[in-house]
């Protein structure tokens, strides 16, 4: 009970920090612009004549997130370390876990908000035709979970350094690897030159493969579990890094 109150106090503070700085507004505007631009001009949503958001809209999300989520997550711990407030935070009567979860939750809720603000897309597609709104909903859920996985990885890189730039670059690279592990050209390459079993193994680690199910309207427990375990594992790693960093 008390634990969640502490988590919520941290979450509130972090959310406040997003909205008192320009980060929140810049992020939301750019995210929405990119979504609109790619859906209408690159994927040619209107010309396709298909009442579905799956391909034209959600297909871009893994790529947008690759740049945008590390930008949201990079300050989480790097900034605390640079300014020295980490010393205040970790000498308060809270556990390291409460701080980690509180911070993660704030950023994840923020990403959720950005995602919710794409609702005009849903209205448009409903106005133009008769889409399967169930599929749209599962795709949204999948997209949010994927954002959470990227974010948790950004937490690790942010805890590793006091430089936000370093944190950003490393997490972009890690996210790219997670995307490419399921990117068809890469998979074909692995299959051709190594073995099909290795290709399967690599694919199992890709966010693309696991996001696909959500895009088809399937809530597969394995996919959900994949994203949740990436989050869990990354947050655990973050706690280990914070501990060893202080152990000197």
């Amino acid at each position: 009970m008390n634990a969640w109150r502490n988590v919520w106090t941290i979450t509130k503070r972090e959310l406040g920090a997003y909205f008192t700085s320009p980060i929140a507004y810049v992020f939301i505007v750019i995210f929405l612009l990119l979504c609109g631009l790619f859906t209408f001009f690159v994927a040619r949503f209107l010309e396709a004549g298909e009442a579905s958001l799956v391909r034209a809209f959600f297909d871009w999300h893994p790529w947008f997130y690759m740049f945008l989520v590390p930008a949201v997550g990079m300050r989480l711990w790097a900034e605390e370390r640079r300014v020295g407030t980490i010393e205040l935070l970790l000498t308060m009567p809270i556990t390291v876990w409460q701080a980690i979860v509180g911070k993660f939750l704030a950023s994840w809720l923020f990403l959720g908000l950005a995602l919710v603000l794409t609702f005009p897309m849903v209205i448009t597609v409903n106005y133009l035709g008769h889409p399967d709104n169930g599929v749209i909903l599962t795709a949204y859920i999948g997209s949010w979970l994927m954002a959470g996985a990227y974010l948790a990885i950004s937490c690790i890189t942010s805890a590793l350094t006091r430089s936000q730039v370093v944190s950003f670059i490393i997490s972009v690279v890690v996210c790219l690897v997670l995307i490419l592990a399921g990117y068809p050209p890469i998979i074909n390459f692995v299959e051709e030159f190594f073995s099909a079993r290795l290709a399967d193994f690599v694919t199992a680690f890709s966010v693309m493969t696991h996001f696909e199910g959500f895009q088809k309207g399937v809530l597969d427990s394995r996919d959900i579990l994949f994203f949740l375990s990436v989050i869990g594992f990354s947050l655990f790693t973050t706690s280990v890094i914070l501990r060893t960093h202080r152990a000197g």
């Binding site: 502490n6 503070r13 920090a17 010393e87 205040l88 000498t91 556990t95 152990a247 000197g248």
Partner: protein, 318 residues
């Protein structure tokens, strides 16, 4: 309230803190002195639970800082070095956050914030962003944070650093007042603060405690403690030293100043003189025109220097 036993911290092969033990009771203000890099901040970081010790234990109010971290941390208010604060918040927002995370809700929180705002004179900057504050105000904001839950134990790392003389005075008064009911540790390298606020002082050097006592006791370790300073007019300095050197209690005499017929000398006593020196000097000098005659109490910065300077530097200084 605070009990530190054989505390040690190693960074790689360097031992930043090496076997430090002391305790602070309620009603005590402990001054933590030492040159830069002596291990003051590291010790304080271990007491507050930010750094885990390599060896040794810290208990605060009976709770071990490692085993029962949360209970121990509840009792502590901490002002870290350089007074960090969340720059993206207003002073009001920051203090409310600090109060909330300390478990203060509703009216209790409002009262606590109002109390520290008044105590630390933050009223005029309350709705200003921390980023735009001057150093003094930022310092006081962080200080306010450390006392917001009225803690039993206060750990202050250089609480007067970066303040102007008036603010320094205020903070010292505040520490002294609060020290009557709390256990306080504060670090400083300003020696006059020890006199102004401490009931006891510890000098730490290269990770070890090298002196521990009341400011008075520490001062007596000074070479000058017990010496007598004399200023006379119209007597040649050679005559003064010659005469004073014959006083049985005097070990040696040095000339401090010899200008325009005013001679100032200092006489050092032999051991076990017990304050009779001033009397003896006064008698020896009764024919001269005495302008000043004073027993020296000893000076803290001399003690500090003689204890903490590396041996080679000491020889150079002499």
């Amino acid at each position: 309230m605070i009990k530190v036993q054989n505390l040690a911290k190693a960074f790689g092969t360097k031992r930043a803190v090496d076997g430090v033990s002391f305790s602070v009771e309620r009603g005590e203000v402990l001054g933590f002195l030492g040159p830069n890099g002596a291990g003051k901040s590291t010790t304080m970081r271990m007491i507050t639970g930010f750094l885990p010790p390599t060896a040794g234990t810290v208990t605060v109010g009976g709770f071990d800082i490692v085993q029962h971290a949360i209970q121990a941390k509840r009792l502590i208010g901490y002002l870290p070095e350089n007074a960090p604060a969340y720059t993206d918040m207003t002073v009001f927002g920051f203090l409310n956050f600090a109060a909330e995370i300390r478990g203060l809700r509703g009216d209790a929180r409002k009262q606590a914030v109002a109390r520290v705002v008044e105590m630390c004179f933050l009223g005029t900057v309350l709705h200003q962003s921390v980023e735009t504050l001057s150093k003094g105000y930022r310092h006081r904001t962080c200080f306010a944070q450390s006392i917001i839950h009225d803690p039993d134990v206060l750990v202050l790392d250089e609480p007067t650093d970066g303040l102007d003389p008036n603010q320094k005075h205020e903070v010292r008064q505040l520490i002294r007042r609060m020290g009557e009911k709390k256990a306080i540790i504060f670090s400083t390298h300003i020696l006059e603060e020890v006199d102004a606020a401490c009931t006891r002082a510890i000098i730490i050097d290269r990770g070890k405690i090298v002196a521990n006592g009341t400011p008075q006791e520490l001062r007596q370790k000074s070479e000058e403690a017990g010496a007598v300073m004399l200023r006379v007019k119209g007597v040649p300095s050679s005559a003064v030293t010659a005469k004073l050197s014959q006083v049985p209690l005097v070990k040696r005499v040095i000339i401090l100043d010899d200008k325009n017929g005013h001679v100032t000398v200092r006489a050092f006593p032999k051991s076990g003189t017990n304050g009779a020196l001033a009397q003896a000097i006064g008698e020896a000098a009764h024919e001269w025109q005495i302008e000043q005659l004073r027993s020296e109490e000893g000076r803290l910065d001399d003690v500090f220097r003689s204890i903490t300077m590396p041996d080679t530097a000491k020889e150079v200084a002499q």
